[in-house]
Symmetry: C2
Subunit: 759 residues, 2 copies
């Protein structure tokens, strides 16, 4: 549990400075100024009771900086059979560094697990390898725009599928709606150009919304983004599988296993940290753009041959009338072609400097490409009269129509499939990063802050994989069913992000040039309004068709994230140092440094019920003199393991009570007899348990002791036999483990396990 210096981030622009870059120190954020001050005061209290720090240092029986151990280059025997090598770096303060990272137990199984891990993931990377890699524009463009560009593989189809319900009359609305979508693309693109400028360290929707609009809008944007990313994986993989089905007909028979395999490959690749393969990833996007230009170009050339007159359209039957509802629904469906447009604004820091300028240029290029491809495909659909069809994707139909079934067709399909795969991969980059930001703001488990061996957020990657797999399998790998879920999350994030930018510019009065500010305000305002309209349209028109799932998911996520934060807030409050919590110590209760001669012994009571004034269940002791020790040693048998536990306890020079749990009176008497033979050196109590329970009476006994002296910190010292081989553990009592788990929940009870290793 770490202190939170970054708590106050809500409501101002500071978050922009923090940005979205991962850092291995995120798990251990710095203390805030107030806590440092408290720390100083706590330290003064300690100083009065612990005496000279130098004495404690002299008392150390080892040299903590490992002076000379191990000798440089020495290959140490695996005496303790393990793990990594650390070595002293020398210098002042003495520094120790891990020189070789690998984490695996001894044993054969652990070694096999490590080998497998290394084979799949590769060798671990040092933290300092973060952010070494910067991308040039011509590499960043394909890597970051795969998601957005690939959306044209399913966006137009989704649009037409809705209009088709109204037959020929419906299809007539294709061009106006497409025009609106193009306007949307341009507006959102311009909006994000402003965001990039204002948040040069990375301005994802979550950061912008929470910085400017507050915590709840931020979490809503994060929820929208995260559902979006999960769906991107499912939809892209499903579309990719659909794209290659006509090429490899055998694949078409089992789309679900193939899709699952693809998702698992994405998992493995991302755990390995595939970001390094950026250059390789440029290929599919460029191939896809080339394929689309080929398709549209040849199509237009053919159409020019017969004077751009549309070919004969089949007359599909109308099942619905053309209503505003239908039009809005078509708009919402078609807008999924914009999914992924925000990717560049998230990733500004990976550009070469000047980052923000390069990112803006790239964004402009991406939006231009997106508009061109979208318009081209819609035009081609209009000219060829192709309509959506259950057995073949729209793009495949177009390619068949324009390019026949030759190698050109295969090229288009393969390029589409690979760019969709790449789009799914984009989600793998972004989803864990949003989780990282949420965890940094205490809205998600802290584990999502941890960078894996390969500097990827392994836990977030695994969560994304599981969620995507569940959805993909549950929907049987059919894309169309997922589209309604899609638009809600995407446009929720757009709307909140752009609204956040409006507030940002509004607040920036006086800080930035006024003309720039007004222009930005206008652009972001337009973006926010347009995105908001599409969001509302998506929720309203598709609510019953499935958007309710997305709405409930987002709502549930919001609740959960707030609860997580509340829990962390309470824990943080409980963990704060409180300098006034302890009363000033008296000289007599001074805890001497171990080698110093103590002036008096520890103040231990001699009777019962001698509860001190600090007697509570609360675990608020912050200084040594507040802790009054009592060691309780449960001993079953007077063998070497039990004797060592008693010796360990006695050597601590704190009051010791030995406890024996006996199943019968006769056995109890026998044990007492042995104890007397031994010499009765330590106080013993025997509890007879006619029901043969061991854990329960021990806990009850400790509870009664706790009631006698609630101020005592009781240390339960458990002897535990630890066989070397795992299979031998079956042969030994598991009482120590059960006791440890049961005692965990008791206040002021510390559990010490004294292991006794055999064989």
């Amino acid at each position: 549990m770490a202190r939170r210096a970054d708590r106050a981030g809500d409501g101002d622009d500071d978050a922009a400075d923090v940005g979205g870059m991962p850092s291995p120190s995120a798990l251990l954020p710095p203390l805030d100024a107030e806590q440092v001050e408290v720390l100083r005061r706590v330290g003064r209290e300690w100083g009065r009771v612990t005496g000279d720090p130098a004495a404690w240092r002299r008392a150390l029986p080892v040299s903590p900086d490992l002076g000379g151990f191990p000798a440089p280059g020495e290959i140490r025997p695996a005496a303790l059979g393990r793990h990594v090598r650390i070595s002293s770096l020398g210098g002042e303060p003495s520094a120790i560094e891990l020189t070789e990272g690998d984490e695996a137990g001894p044993g054969r199984r652990a070694r096999a697990a490590r080998l497998l891990r290394r084979a799949v993931l590769g060798m671990p990377l040092r933290s300092s390898a973060i952010a070494r890699e910067r991308l040039r524009k011509r590499v960043a463009l394909p890597v970051l725009s795969a998601d957005a560009l690939s959306s044209v593989a399913y966006g137009p189809e989704a649009l037409l599928a809705v209009l088709l319900l109204a037959g020929v009359a419906g299809l007539g609305y294709t061009s106006p709606i497409a025009a609106v979508i193009v306007v949307l693309m341009v507006a959102v693109g311009l909006s994000y150009r402003q965001t990039i400028r204002a948040y040069p360290h990375g301005g994802g929707s979550y950061l912008v919304a929470s910085a400017n609009l507050g915590r709840t809008p931020g979490l809503l944007a994060a929820a929208g983004l995260m559902t979006d990313y999960v769906l991107t994986v499912s939809v892209s993989v499903a579309s990719g599988v659909a794209a290659i089905s006509p090429v490899f007909p055998k694949v078409a028979n089992s789309p679900v296993p193939l899709g699952v395999l693809v998702i698992l490959l994405l998992l493995a690749g991302n755990l390995r940290g595939v970001r390094q393969a950026g250059r390789l990833f440029a290929l599919p996007t460029y191939a896809f753009v080339l394929a689309m230009f080929l398709l549209v170009g040849v199509g237009l050339f053919q159409a020019a041959g017969h004077g751009f007159t549309p070919e004969a359209t089949p007359h599909p039957p109308a099942t619905e009338a053309v209503t505003l509802f239908l039009v809005l629904r078509a708009l919402a469906s078609g807008s999924t072609a914009m999914a992924g447009i925000e990717a560049i604004s998230n990733a500004v820091p990976i550009f070469q400097p000047p980052e923000w300028r390069n990112a803006r240029t790239t964004l402009t290029m991406m939006v231009s490409l997106l508009v061109v491809l979208f318009v081209g495909i819609i035009t081609l659909v209009h000219l060829t009269g192709v309509i959506p069809h259950h057995h073949e994707t729209l793009l495949s139909q177009l390619a068949h129509h324009v390019l026949g079934s030759g190698p050109a067709y295969v090229f288009v399909q393969l390029a589409t499939a690979s760019v969709l795969l790449l789009a799914a991969n984009t989600a793998y980059n972004d989803f864990p990063r949003v989780l990282f930001l949420l965890a940094r703001d205490w809205h998600a488990p802290r584990i999502f802050l941890r960078l894996g061996d390969r500097l990827a957020f392994s836990h977030g990657i695994i969560v994304l994989t599981v969620a995507a797999l569940v959805i993909f399998v549950a929907f049987g790998g059919r894309t169309a069913a997922l589209i309604p879920l899609y638009a809600v999350g995407v446009f929720l994030a757009f709307t909140l992000s752009q609204t956040g930018m409006v507030v940002h510019w509004h607040r920036a009065r006086g800080r930035v040039h006024d003309r720039h500010r007004r222009r930005s305000l206008l652009l972001n305002g337009t973006g926010a309004v347009l995105a908001g309209i599409v969001f509302v349209a998506a929720v309203v028109t598709k609510f019953l068709a499935g958007a309710w799932v997305a709405v409930f998911t987002i709502g549930g996520f919001l609740l959960l994230a707030k609860r997580v934060r509340r829990h962390y807030d309470r824990v943080g409050e409980a963990l704060r140092l409180r300098p006034h919590a302890f009363d000033l110590p008296t000289a007599g209760s001074q805890v001497p440094a171990p080698e110093a001669e103590p002036e008096t012994g520890p103040e231990t009571g001699t009777g019962t019920g001698q509860a001190t004034e600090t007697a509570t269940d609360a675990e608020t002791e912050e200084a040594p003199e507040q802790i009054h020790h009592l060691s309780v040693v449960p001993v079953a048998v007077l063998d070497l393991a039990g004797m060592r536990a008693l010796a360990y306890a006695a050597a601590l020079r704190q009051p010791v009570l030995a406890l024996h749990i006996s199943p019968s009176d006769e056995e109890a008497e026998r044990f007492r007899e042995n104890w007397r033979e031994w010499g009765d050196h330590l106080p013993l109590e025997v509890v007879v348990t006619p029901y043969r329970a061991i854990v329960a009476p021990l806990i009850d006994y400790l509870e009664v002791l706790h009631r006698q002296r609630p101020d005592l910190t009781m240390t339960v010292i458990l002897p535990e036999i630890v066989p070397r081989r795992r299979r031998h553990r079956l042969l030994h009592s598991r009482v120590a483990g059960r006791l440890r788990r049961a005692l965990r929940t008791l206040p002021k009870i510390v559990v010490t396990t004294v292991p006794f290793h055999v064989e």
Copy 2:
């Protein structure tokens, strides 16, 4: 781990005095005389260093006999939310007893689990309830002989099924082989009469064989018995289901689910401790005997009507010639009718006194009944000319033939089914008892010594259930396939037990009356030879037909049991107290009682590499002055949890080293800065781990410290945040748990968990 006083039992008759009765103290056997002597010497060493025992007693801050806590009858608030009530009984020495047994954590889930447990099992029983119940002969007879008597439901059929292979010529051998089996029954019965006399505390095959023949024969007998019991459950349940199939034809369609259900009911009943229902259990056996007498009587009466001339036999085709091999195979199959004959000799102590005499009388009655029923059924088969048939059991055919299909027939079938069920239940009594004996002799995990809530050996019952279920389901509930497996185990146990008795009488020269001894020698010798012949016949003639499974199982069991014993022997050796292991202490290293003023501080080294002469990895410290402490406190953050762990460590007044594992140099510097702000009261070392691992560098660091001073006992004090609710654990680091597991395997490292409870 307990000391073993009963180790030396091999090879003499002492085991007879111990008997097979369960005892809750078995888990804690008394120390042997040598260990008590060693204990005394160890105690003298302690006395030199720990000082006045009274001082330690005075130092106790609590009164361990709970004086006045809680007040009698007081309903204490569930402050620590738990478990049982213990109360002081007063007196000298002070005694504490559990007044109400129940073991369940706080939380709703634990309470629900407890309710379910109580509903299925009933309230727990006190240990003193053991052996309160004694059975009269007329109750003991049906309870203990169900297994043996029910065997006639499948024994004759198994015999005929083999002879049938040789057609009419084969069936001609029925009478001679049956006669041999009767001789066997009488001989084995007489043999067991001797066993009961010689082992009045219970003389199961395992006890007799291991006491007289040595460890390996004893284990072989146990293995034979245990496979026998597992098969008894499977075969009896299968036969019982087959018996009611003609009555309830719907049942016949799904024998496996019904059989599984029956086995699970047996499990539940036996966990609850169904032994109490003895009286109820008398019914099925008497009903079965009555039914058999009815069947045989009416059959003979009908046969008398036509002058005892056998009816026309169908002429089955012969597929094999009559060979010695076939005859022996038939003998081995038919002998399964004797399974269960040893039950009474196992259970002598449950008879009313004089136990052995009542048990012998009961055994005689049982064998007489068995012979009568067996002969009657074979005769009836001969007279009616019924032959085994795939679709109906032999007994059912006989009953149909003699009694028609009316209520008398139904009575016979139901009585057969219920006695078979009871026979399966007998195995539930005996199997866990054999496991108990094995565990007492360190040949099986100690857990089988534990008596459950209801004084049943729950773990053995569960093992039997699992094994029986696996076999029953694997064989699809068909009895015939299991018969070959059966005879091997049964007759192996008989042979070894009787051979053991021969040795017993041979050794008893001079101790018992010579005529009695010679007569017994003759009887047991005959029994041993005959049983041995059947055993060899069973193995040889049925080896390929399935007996090899039994042979390999028994062999595997033998190996496993010996390995278990070897492990326990090694552990026992390691755990023995060794008074000479420690060098005499110097005055300076005296460990003072906690309240006494120490003359000097503990001897802690001040440099590195100052390994003392006792420096080893071995954990052999037996006395406090041999233990040199170093507390290592891994601190991630300077919050209250971390501060409490530091305070806990400092209050122990032993050398303390704080350790911080840092992911980066910057973070390391920041932490050092905070540490200085605090006042640098304790020595701190920071390890930078660029690979972000936490567990591995900590372990490696400790390893290096251990190499500096192998004599040190290092206590790793881990602060751990423990949320009240289980679901909140996901939100907190699990590093403490992982560290604890990883540190478990390291020598001389003690792990202390200082919990910090939140919410």
